[in-house]
């Protein structure tokens, strides 16, 4: 059932068994698990069914560290959450991402990848991707055709799967609407979680709408599923007045804020222009429709550092992806392709272009007939997605400014360290060494070799993580291995905010897997 919270009378108290705050990937995946669990579920969404500017504006805040300018554009405050513009890239975190690592502080989850494997498999169904299988050879990639050095032992070909992408609102909205056990409150903004006198149980959630009415929800269990920034914001704004916030006895809520680092890092001049790059289904190839699709679904390959090498070099995780710069005769090849496919807009121009590059065009035709790599590559332009190192000084805080509901706005102090930069350089040195050692080409570093300067195109993507990190020790984390907030018996977090380390995997699949695991935990506990 859907209820517009703006129609709820002022001061109403709603009773619930499970109250989920946030109807994005985590909240919706969680709520679906309770359709027939015999519990009354309240699912709160700040927005409506469509984008609303005044609601989205509630996200706004201030950046005081490294510029973080995407507070209102990197997430969606509407039913379905950020899945409304999610790109769909899906892959699990690697086993190494869960491990404590020598020489890399603040690493290690209190759970292992094997603990999540069953939930990852279920999450695949939720985000509508193929089997829980990420070995490239199982998807039709011929390992023996991958050129050195991308065939091991130091660098390896990896892959991710592409969700359609699943728009949770469109795909799961009608089932939620029909579910008698679940009430979706639209336009319902969580203002503050109120705990009992002893501070061990959350008893009530204060809710407000931009229509002006306020009400509250009492529930046996509360789950925060509001994303990596708002989850911390709400915890900091909750609890006793003038207190540090809920779950923040050790001052950890909002700390360790991480986003994946995206930047152009290097160029590799390729020795043999016909190096076989067909294993690498990057975006450029995808836009030409060249997917490998043995399961009838799409995937994208990339290059990563082998786990053993990551350990030996004390490197965080990363993805190497690239675009191509082609040899000049590519223009002749393109003209020839247009002529062959009868899609030429100007046949005279295209014939002349083929004539100008007759060698390359002829070679293209020959290679096509032989089934060989077709396009002469001059260089690959390497773009990195690299894992940020956990840093407690990188954080989300509450500012003095208030939003339209009177709630304190966030202040983002996003920071990177010298270790982050050194790791980024080490990733390029490894790539440069490997392409040189194997004769693939030579690498030109596009970054300065100091500890602080990043490429101009560096940006932190929309993967907000770490602000309520998971650790078995309350002194080191905000939630425990069950995603329950330390010290509180009935408050849980379903969000990438629980990630103690970010890995290099796009986070949505793990968010959904953790939400499904949490649903199972809550059901067992309530039974």
């Amino acid at each position: 059932m859907f209820v517009d919270a703006r129609s709820i009378p002022e001061g109403t108290v709603i009773e619930s068994d499970l109250c989920i705050i946030g109807a994005g990937a985590a909240g919706i995946a969680l709520a679906r698990e309770f359709f027939s669990a015999g519990l009354r579920v309240s699912l709160l969404e700040s927005g409506g069914l469509e984008f609303e500017e005044d609601t989205q504006e509630l996200y706004d805040g201030k950046s005081i560290g490294r510029p973080f300018t995407t507070l209102t554009t990197s997430r969606a405050r509407e039913f379905g959450g950020t899945t409304n513009f999610w790109g769909g890239w899906s892959l699990p975190l690697d086993p190494i991402d869960f491990e404590p690592r020598e020489g890399l502080p603040y690493r290690g989850w209190p759970i292992r990848r094997t603990d999540l494997d069953p939930w990852y498999a279920q999450a695949h169904e939720v985000v509508q991707i193929g089997p829980y299988e990420y070995r490239p050879e199982k998807w039709g990639i011929r390992l023996d055709e991958i050129p050195a050095p991308f065939n091991g032992p130091n660098l390896v070909c990896r892959m991710l799967q592409c969700s359609p992408p699943t728009r949770f609102a469109a795909v799961y909205g009608s089932a939620l609407k029909q579910a008698s056990a679940v009430t979706v409150f639209l336009h319902a903004n969580a203002l503050r979680l109120i705990d009992d006198e002893a501070g061990r149980t959350v008893s009530e959630l204060a809710v407000a709408t931009l229509g002006g009415n306020r009400f509250s929800i009492r529930s046996k269990v509360f789950v925060l599923a509001a994303g990596g920034i708002e989850t911390a914001r709400l915890l900091l704004a909750s609890g006793k007045p003038e207190g540090p916030g809920l779950g923040n006895g050790n001052g950890l809520v909002g700390r360790f804020f991480m986003v994946h680092l995206e930047y152009g890092a290097s160029t590799v001049a390729v020795a043999d222009p016909y190096t076989d790059f067909r294993f690498c289904t990057n975006e450029l190839l995808n836009s030409s429709g060249l997917y490998y699709a043995p399961f009838g679904l799409k995937f994208v390959t990339f290059v990563a550092v082998a786990e053993d090498r990551m350990r030996a070099l004390k490197l965080p995780n990363c993805k190497y992806r690239w675009t191509y710069t082609y040899e000049p005769e590519m223009s002749g090849i393109n003209a020839l392709r247009r002529l062959l496919s009868r899609s030429s807009n100007d046949m005279t121009d295209d014939v002349l272009e083929v004539a100008r590059h007759i060698g390359g065009a002829g070679e293209f035709a020959f290679r096509k007939a032989m089934g060989w790599p077709l396009f002469p590559v001059r260089a690959i332009n390497v773009h990195m997605t690299s894992e940020p190192l956990p840093n407690q000084e990188s954080r989300i805080m509450l500012g003095d400014d208030r939003d339209a509901l009177g709630m304190r706005r966030v202040v983002v102090d996003w920071r990177l360290t010298a270790e982050d930069k050194r790791a980024a350089l080490a990733m390029q040195r490894l790539l440069g060494t490997e392409v040189g050692r194997t004769g693939l080409g030579r690498l030109r570093l596009e970054m300065t070799e100091d500890d602080t300067t990043w490429p101009d195109d560096l940006f932190g993507d929309q993967h907000h993580m770490g602000t309520t990190r998971m650790d078995a020790d309350p002194g080191k984390g905000v939630v425990n291995a069950d995603c329950r907030v330390h010290g509180l018996s009935n408050l849980y977090v379903a969000s990438s905010s629980v990630y103690p380390t970010a890995g290099a995997a796009n986070p949505t699949l793990t968010i959904v897997a953790l939400a499904l695991r949490l649903a199972d935990h809550i059901k067992k506990k309530q039974a």
């Binding site: 001049a269 222009p273 007759i358 007939a369 060494t433 040189g436 030579r442 030109r444 570093l445 070799e449």
Partner: protein
């Protein structure tokens, strides 16, 4: 007159042209390292000596007397052993960077 299908004709032309593929080198570093362009090698060599002024080449570097295949092996070994030089942002093996330096010093 017999008509040759367009596609077959182009494939045939490609076969004829295939043998005269131009060198792949398209930028200075590639040319220098393939020794296709002495000017490019000299430029790399000069940049190497600026970046590593304390590398006393001491006359003819032993690698210069080696056959090309042996040089290639040494280059691979350099990369494997981490004997690399950063020259104008390029990560080069010590052997090839020194060879370029020798080309530069030889004028």
């Amino acid at each position: 007159m017999m008509r040759i299908p367009r596609r077959s004709g182009l494939c045939g032309a490609a076969l004829l042209l295939f043998a005269r593929r131009r060198p792949a080198a398209a930028d200075d570093v590639k040319s220098a390292l393939l020794f296709a362009d002495p000017a490019a090698a000299r430029a790399i060599g000069a940049a190497y000596l600026r970046a590593y002024p304390n590398d006393a080449l001491r006359g003819v570097h032993p690698a210069a007397r080696l056959p090309r295949a042996e040089i290639a092996t040494r280059v691979c070994d350099d990369f494997a052993a981490g004997r690399v030089a950063m020259v104008n942002g390029w990560m080069l093996s010590q052997t090839e960077a020194r060879l370029c330096a020798m080309v530069y010093l030889a004028g």
